[in-house]
């Protein structure tokens, strides 16, 4: 039995046939069960919000009105900054990357079962609906991770906090490049290979550099928590935390590669900063 198991294990390591079968059947079935369960949960939540939570609504309304006033004032103040940002973008020719198409997806669950050992989430899109393995996942706050494995209509995404996650990043202001590495849920991430001369500071935002060819350039990823010269290497020891609250994800955006090149008037950026080529469509 042991020899049989080891033979099966080695064969699957090489061909991934059983992994594909398990994803195709197991993940698809789990997704099919979870989608109606999530709908039921939403209905229950809606009822609760509409009928039982009215007490807090008036107070919340007052708060929100005040907040809207504050935000309108801020918006007016930031108008000039926005104009400047547009000018600067045009100036430095940041690629407005049309090679990625955003697709909304629902988060169905976190880790499921004894075999789910990586920091991951299950989402409601699979390879037939835009969630192919490798597809980057973002929210309006920043990067979440990428699709690890997929069935036809569900997929498992690896979060950027997983110890196996490596993302090529830049510091937004100092433009210092580095590799962002996860250290597990709740643990600060580490930015490796940042030169000692780089003047990265606490609170600086890290954005994807696109140099790894896996993520589009310019997506905010994390905020620097601490910067110090490393005791062991010739680089800086930088800790960072994700911008996205990974514990409370409900909806995410998948960035599907379209294969469309950026518009020529923006200037053709170096080839490597764009995403992977669009995967071949079945039947094409």
């Amino acid at each position: 039995m042991l020899i049989l198991f080891l033979a099966m294990y080695s064969w699957n390591q090489r061909t991934r046939a059983l992994d594909d079968l398990a994803a195709e059947i197991g993940l698809e079935l789990a997704g099919a069960v979870l989608k109606p369960l999530r709908s039921l949960q939403d209905s229950g939540q809606d009822m609760w919000d509409r009928y039982f939570d009215l007490v807090a609504v008036r107070e919340e309304n007052e708060d929100l009105k005040q907040r809207v006033n504050e935000l309108e004032a801020k918006l007016l103040a930031n108008g000039e900054d926005m104009a400047e940002l547009k000018r600067l973008r045009a100036l430095i020719q940041l690629p407005v990357d049309q090679s990625w198409r955003p697709l909304g997806a629902r988060v169905l669950a976190g880790r499921m079962g004894p075999n789910a050992v990586l920091d991951s989430i299950t989402i409601s899109r699979g390879y037939s609906t835009g969630g192919r393995p490798g597809t980057p996942i973002v929210t309006h706050q920043g990067l979440v991770g990428r699709v690890l494995k997929a069935s036809a209509h569900s997929a498992i995404a690896l979060l950027l906090t997983d110890p196996g996650s490596r993302i090529a990043v830049f510091a937004q202001e100092t433009r210092a490049p580095g590799i962002l590495t996860g250290h597990g849920t709740g643990q600060p991430m580490e930015v490796n290979f940042v030169q000692r001369a780089a003047r990265v500071h606490e609170g600086e935002i890290l954005i994807t550099s696109g140099l790894d060819g896996k993520y589009p350039k310019g997506i905010p990823v994390a905020k620097v928590l601490s910067v110090a010269p490393s005791d062991y290497t010739q680089f800086m020891a930088i800790k960072a935390e994700p911008l996205v609250d990974l514990h409370h994800l409900e909806e995410v955006l998948l960035l599907e590669p379209t294969g469309i090149a950026p518009p020529p008037d923006l200037g053709a950026p170096p080839k490597e900063i764009h995403g992977p080529p669009a995967p071949a469509r079945p039947g094409s």
Binding site: M1, F5, M8, Y9, N12, Q13, L18, D19, L21, A22, A23, E24, I25, G26, L27, E28, L29, A30, V33, L34, L37, L108, A109, G110, R111, M112, G113, P114, N115, A116, V117, L118, S120, T122, L148, K149, S151, I156, L158, P163, G164, G184
Partner: protein, 156 residues
């Protein structure tokens, strides 16, 4: 319990198990179903349920295929060893079995981590093993209560 009712019961069990596993990371609810199948010596249903359990767990998981097979093999082995000493439906037996299964859960994670070059977080796995061990007796009691029509095979 008629065959159709039995199949419906197992389908409901699978749906509930997936729902609970989505709420409690790392927990294996289907292992309780496997214990019930072994207690009832229901090999006919085990023929389709065990592959279904394995495919579901492997599909939902992020490890390379194989870990769940080792884990369920450990569950079956522990059950058969325990049945030599105890009556299969005895709560004490289930209690001891769940404690051993908690240990097996930890051992499988420890075994598979270097094989697949995965990080092994001792505290995290220990917590999950404990949750698994505590969960089994209560889930078993509840599930057996819903299967009163089914004759459990008692064996010393």
């Amino acid at each position: 319990m008629s065959a159709l009712r039995d199949i419906l019961w197992w389908l409901c069990f699978l749906a509930v198990a997936v729902g609970i596993q989505a709420a409690v990371p790392g927990l294996d609810v289907m292992a309780v179903g496997l214990i019930i199948l072994l207690q009832e010596r229901d090999y006919k249903n085990m023929l389709w349920l065990l592959p279904a359990f394995i495919l579901l767990q492997e599909g939902m998981g992020t490890r390379v295929f194989g870990g769940v097979i080792v884990w369920y093999a450990a569950v079956i082995m522990l059950f058969r060893m325990g049945r030599w000493l105890f009556e299969a439906e005895n709560f004490l037996f289930i209690f001891l079995l769940s404690a051993c299964m908690g240990g097996a859960y930890y051992a499988v994670a420890w075994l598979m981590a270097p094989l697949q070059d995965l990080p092994f977080n001792t505290h995290d796995i220990l917590d999950k093993s404990l949750i698994q061990a505590i969960f089994i007796p209560f889930a078993w009691k509840l599930l057996v209560a819903t299967r009163r029509g089914k004759g459990h095979v008692s064996e010393s």
